[in-house]
Symmetry: C2
Subunit: 215 residues, 2 copies
């Protein structure tokens, strides 16, 4: 239940089997297929069979590469977190040397854009609790990059001798990410009455940073 109507059934494109010793390549292809599905369908539609179809292989072919469906999902989620962390790091790298607050805004902008441009991937980031304990144990390592990104920028801000408008860097990070995630979630789940244009959400986050740090 609670699943949206199915999208078109992903006709399997002809696929050449990998060469000897290159079997591991399929693992990457499977993850890519999952990303393609997420770009056109809600996260709830992801399934082992659906991913196999999109990758152009038979369902059992998943098993040599992933222990089971739960682990496949976990790998997909991990990859999404990695993407998000990378996009934030990239945004930060571009304005290295600039004022830490500008860097913070760049990172947060990257965060909002990832969420609004790839809503299914973003929603998957928070489907973690549904996964097995074993997978959850690795969670800090997967989630950390996005979180650390903000903390470190705030630490740079502090290092310039300026003060924080709220708690320490960890607490303020929670504040900023809560606000941003909350605004995104409201835009994605109650799109009507709440002004929800993607730029609207990004502008909201930028404005929030400006006002938070305004003397």
């Amino acid at each position: 239940m609670l699943t949206a109507p199915p999208t078109q059934p992903a006709t399997a494109p002809a696929r050449r089997r990998n060469l000897r010793g290159e079997g591991g390549l399929l693992k990457g292809e499977v993850i890519s297929a999952a990303m393609r599905i997420l770009d056109r369908a809600p996260a709830t539609e992801l399934s082992l069979r659906m991913v196999a179809r999109e990758a152009g292989i038979a369902a059992p072919s998943i098993y040599p590469h992933f222990k089971d469906a739960k682990n496949l999902m976990a790998e997909i989620v991990r990859d999404c977190w990695r993407q998000l962390g990378n996009e934030m790091s990239l945004a930060a790298a571009i304005c290295v040397g600039a004022d830490p607050l500008d860097m913070l805004k760049a990172q947060l902008g990257a965060y909002v854009r990832y969420a609004m441009e790839r809503p299914s991937r973003y929603q998957l980031l928070f489907a973690l609790p549904q996964l097995e304990v074993e997978v959850l144990r690795e969670l800090p390592g997967t989630v950390q990059p996005a979180y650390r990104n903000v903390v470190q920028t705030l630490e740079q801000h502090v290092a310039t001798g300026k003060s924080l408008p709220w708690g320490d860097t960890a607490e303020l990070t929670m504040f900023i990410l809560s606000l941003t995630h909350g605004r995104i979630a409201l835009a994605q789940t109650a799109p009507h009455r709440l002004g929800n244009a993607p730029e609207g959400v990004e502008a909201f986050a930028m404005k929030a940073i400006d006002r938070l740090f305004a003397t």
Copy 2:
């Protein structure tokens, strides 16, 4: 996929059929059964058959009372929104006459407690996008009460001649609800590294209001 391991299969308790003309009672019993499921299982486990089992009836018996599974889900979601709105209104009613900021904190406290004490119901509130368009059209009416609750309290605050720390009452409501919802969502979906004791989340919201409105 992305479903948690099933809880025990809800042995059907013996049920007496309703009397002539009382058939409508079953509708309420079905909704109650759904709430009981949500109190012990993740929202993803909800299904027409599961609800029927919990209510002690056969699956087809749902149909005279709900058009189909989608509509059943929609009714359940609507009921959760109604509950949340009521708890916020109740909290506001208790401190009527008090400072609007205290009323705001009371309402927000009720909001956080609903979310942390009934996580599955809370998560269901935001499963709306998965439902049909037809259902979504009624959304404003179902979501409004919780939202209006905050707006009205902020309007009272303004009426006392005090100013707002952010935009107008509508914008500030978005800010406050985004922050609160975001913090709840992070606590519920990444429970580890983020201090997530329920009191922690409520304290976070209270502190946020205090600081926001601090001169």
